[in-house]
């Protein structure tokens, strides 16, 4: 009996803390740092595309230009993305307080708004359903930078929505509560990061510089030569 008790005590000790392994708290701090490092590494990629925009979208005098694009839908989709960040924040705060109903609603709203943004980019901004897109794919430097910026961002929105739906489903199964919700926090950081990138992309694509009509052929290259 004594031996069994001793053995149990020994196991408990092992479960409580193995000095060779980080505690859960330490593990989460490392995970968090890793996620921020990932965000930082991605920032270099986004910064490179942003730099290309300012390098290539210039007129002969060096002044900033941009392709002529519809302003209304772009502003609306930007608001949709900001709103999705708001719901993501609510969902994270809710799960940290064991409010699973608000968490679930917030996650679904975020995914839904993310999807609205994505469909808006594909069907309205890229004009996939239009007989003639606003900006032709063969529109030279304008099209190359525009599709690189919006496309790279859209890929991140897609992965973000998938991640949100996975975390929402896990939350529905009861995997998260106020004590254990690192996955929710990670998902929230990633989603807000996607929003953060758009904060710089939106003015760069739609607001800065004077608008130039892009002809529906690749003659734009000659514009820079």
């Amino acid at each position: 009996m004594s031996a069994v008790a001793h053995h149990d005590h020994h196991d408990d000790h092992h479960e409580l803390h193995n000095p060779m392994e980080p505690t859960r708290k330490e593990q989460i701090r490392m995970n968090r740092m890793g996620l921020w490092m990932f965000c930082l590494s991605e920032a270099f990629l986004f910064f490179a595309i942003l730099a290309a925009r300012f390098y290539l979208w210039r007129d002969a005098d060096g002044a900033a230009i941009r392709p002529y694009l519809e302003q209304g839908p772009a502003l609306a989709f930007t608001v949709v993305l900001l709103l999705s960040s708001y719901f993501m924040n609510r969902a994270e705060v809710a799960i940290a307080n064991d409010d699973k109903k608000t968490f679930s609603f917030g996650m679904l709203m975020t995914a839904g708004l993310g999807l609205v943004f994505l469909l808006g980019v594909i069907f309205v901004e890229w004009g996939l359903m239009l007989p003639e897109p606003h900006l032709p794919v063969n529109g030279g430097a304008f099209a190359a930078v525009f599709y690189a910026m919006t496309g790279m961002h859209a890929i991140h929105v897609v992965t973000g929505v998938i991640l949100i739906l996975i975390v929402w489903n896990n939350g529905r199964k009861g995997l998260y509560d106020s004590k254990e919700h690192w996955a929710v926090e990670a998902c929230a950081i990633y989603w807000h990061y996607v929003d953060l990138v758009w904060v710089f992309f939106y003015p760069a694509i739609y607001l800065i510089g004077y608008a130039v009509k892009v002809p529906h052929h690749s003659a734009i290259i000659s514009f820079f030569m």
């Binding site: 968090r32 003015p203 004077y210």
Partner: protein
Amino acid sequence: MSDHHSSESSASKSGIFIRGNTAAIALAVITVVEFIMAAAFGIESAVWMLLLAIIKAGIIMNIFMGISRLWSEEDHH
């Protein structure tokens, strides 16, 4: 004691919700300001728009992404 703890937690939650609401409103207002500035001043507003974008990024990183959790000892998990 339990009621006290519950009301404290509820107050903390609503406080964080209010912070989130304020941040969302600030972001929306700044976005509209950017839009108006671009329409009104055109190319002249580029530097101001960059500044506004940095302010928006600061709000998102601080309030939504919780960057201070990187160096704070407090942990909810």
